[in-house]
């Protein structure tokens, strides 16, 4: 297991810059399918660089800069999604130790109100003699989402790329979606989320799910803003054990930043399964069973609960 944070981060950013640089230098298309909404357009502004063989070359600026300052996508574009992709997540239960770094990263990056975690890590034991394990649970981004079916105002919707998002500008707070979700993954802003002023005043973006608003529903969003930049969701990058894998089903590849696997092989080889798929929700999150655990299951929270 590669626990070198620095190397993984540089790896990702290097990969990003490389792909963008290549996009500028070669005739290969933008990594995202040519879509009017999605492709990076040449800005026309050329930048001079020193090439490796000591010559001066010119490259369009738009293809070189890493793109943290992409303007937020419009509401209509956020409702359609990234064409040509279908995002999936694989969670390796044999690696989870309930460190909850995923939870704290997600809470921090989305400025989530305390107590309203979007990722919950459950201690599970399916029946008396079966193995206990920790189960990090995100939104399943179901392909037949019961929450989307029941929303009366189209405030929660499923996109082309499989991601289910919430439009907090439209949500009326009826909480029907929360009743309908069998995974109990949705949370509600019962009071004002108490965001810092600069964030609370920003216009709402469905893709960052920020700023959260009082009286609306929130949930894990698979970080589509990160996917547009070619980066991994925050939970995936935050886990020191590399428990979360994220990728594109249509590319047949998932990665946790350090390791990349062919998705179909991974699920077949390790007998991946989905949570409560008998309900017909067709979740996009797969779990790898806790076989050959890296460490024994210890539930300190339960011990503390019993003490108090």
């Amino acid at each position: 297991m590669n626990t070198n944070d620095k190397s993984r981060r540089e790896f990702i950013t290097a990969g990003l810059l490389a792909s963008l640089a290549v996009a500028g230098c070669s005739t290969k298309n933008n990594p995202f399918e040519p879509d009017a909404i999605d492709s990076i357009k040449p800005s026309g502004k050329m930048v001079k660089l020193l090439s490796v063989d000591g010559k001066v070359i010119e490259v369009d600026e738009a293809f070189l800069k890493p793109v943290p300052n992409l303007p937020a996508v419009s509401n209509d574009a956020a409702r359609v999604g990234i064409s040509g992709k279908k995002f999936v997540m694989v969670i390796d239960l044999s690696r989870c130790k309930s460190l909850k770094k995923c939870q704290s990263a997600c809470d921090h990056m989305h400025h989530i109100h305390p107590g309203e975690n979007w990722i919950k890590v459950y201690p599970m034991q399916d029946s008396e003699h079966t193995a206990p394990y920790w189960q990090p649970t995100t939104c399943m981004h179901c392909d037949e989402p019961p929450c989307v079916k029941v929303c009366p105002v189209d405030a929660t919707f499923k996109r082309k790329d499989g991601i289910v998002l919430i439009d907090s500008d439209r949500c009326i707070g009826c909480r029907f979606c929360m009743a309908a979700c069998p995974y109990s993954t949705r949370v509600f802003n019962w009071e004002d989320p108490g965001l810092p002023k600069e964030i609370a005043e920003q216009p709402y973006s469905c893709e960052t799910s920020m700023p959260q608003k009082k009286g609306t529903v929130g949930k894990c969003d698979f970080c589509p803003d990160m996917a547009r930049k070619g980066e991994l969701p925050h939970c995936v990058s935050a886990c020191p054990n590399g428990t979360f894998f994220f990728g594109d089903l249509l590319e047949d590849s998932v990665t946790n930043g350090a390791e990349t696997f062919r998705f179909s092989d991974l699920i077949k080889d390790k007998a991946g399964y989905q949570l409560m798929e008998d309900l017909g929700t067709k979740p996009s999150v797969y779990y790898l069973p806790p076989v050959n655990r890296n460490f024994p299951f210890e539930n300190n929270e339960q011990k503390e609960d019993k003490k108090s």
Binding site: K6, S7, R9, E10, F11, I12, T13, A14, G15, L17, A18, S19, A21, V22, C25, S26, K28, N29, P31, E33, K48, L49, L50, S51, V52, G54, V56, I57, L64, P68, R79, V80, G81, S83, G84, K85, K86, E144, V148, K149, D154, F157, K158, R159, K160, A227, G230, E231, L232, F246, G247, D248, L250, E251, D252, S253, T255, G257, T260, R262
Partner: protein, 288 residues
Amino acid sequence: MKKHNHLFITLLLSCISVAVIAQDAKNDLSLTLSYFNNNNQVQYLVAHAKSKIDGRFQMIPGINVSFFITNDSSGNLLGKSVTNDKGEAFLLIPPTAKEQWNKSAKQTFVVVSQASKLYDETKASSDITKAKVKIDTTDDRKITATVLELKDTAWVPAKGVDLKIAIKRLDGDLNVNETQTFTTDSTGSITAEFKRDSIPGDINGNITLIAKVEDNDTYGNLSTEKIVPWGSKFQYVSNFDERTLFARRGKFPIWLGVIAYSIIIVVWGILISLIFDIVKIKKLGQEV
């Protein structure tokens, strides 16, 4: 007068000692510098700032850093940058480095972080030898990657270099076969067999192969890409535009629309006709 002088000196000394004590409370900044070369074209530097806070390393944003080539004299300044929230600062190597760059095969890069309230001025350097990676492929899906280093003016094979051969994917790179890392032999090459059959490519079945040298002490980070038609053709089917119960507003299933609207039209038609009945009754009443 003398008394005042004594007082002044005492004050000055105490100020200095306080300043010294304050300075001692600064944290140590750990700075690292990496060199990147993509496709033998674009090259850039990445400076990484970390500090041990509460026993754990944390990335430090907002550090002003200056990049230099060869040494940190002001004439060799390449550019300045600020670390982002991941503690990284980037700089594309600008044309001003041309003179120094073309002088020799071995280069040194230096990064200096500006002194601030929390951190002292810190320096880091990275020595690299110019190198490049090449990919060659054959029709029977064998990949040969060669690493060459520049010795004086000639490119010679680089032995014992660790390489990864992979297919470029959205967020990561998928190894072409089970071998995670290859090591170059005496000719500076490795061969790898492409074992990822039917991996989805683009609409024409093209995939991008990438050969990477990562974090090499001598060469830095190198990568090269090549497009090959070894993937399966990309097929995209989405039910986004279908009429389903979970589709967006106007895309309800036809049967639902027919049932709902017909009930609404019939019942409200009846109600509206009853409103007209009231009008009729009113008219009849006014005639009498």
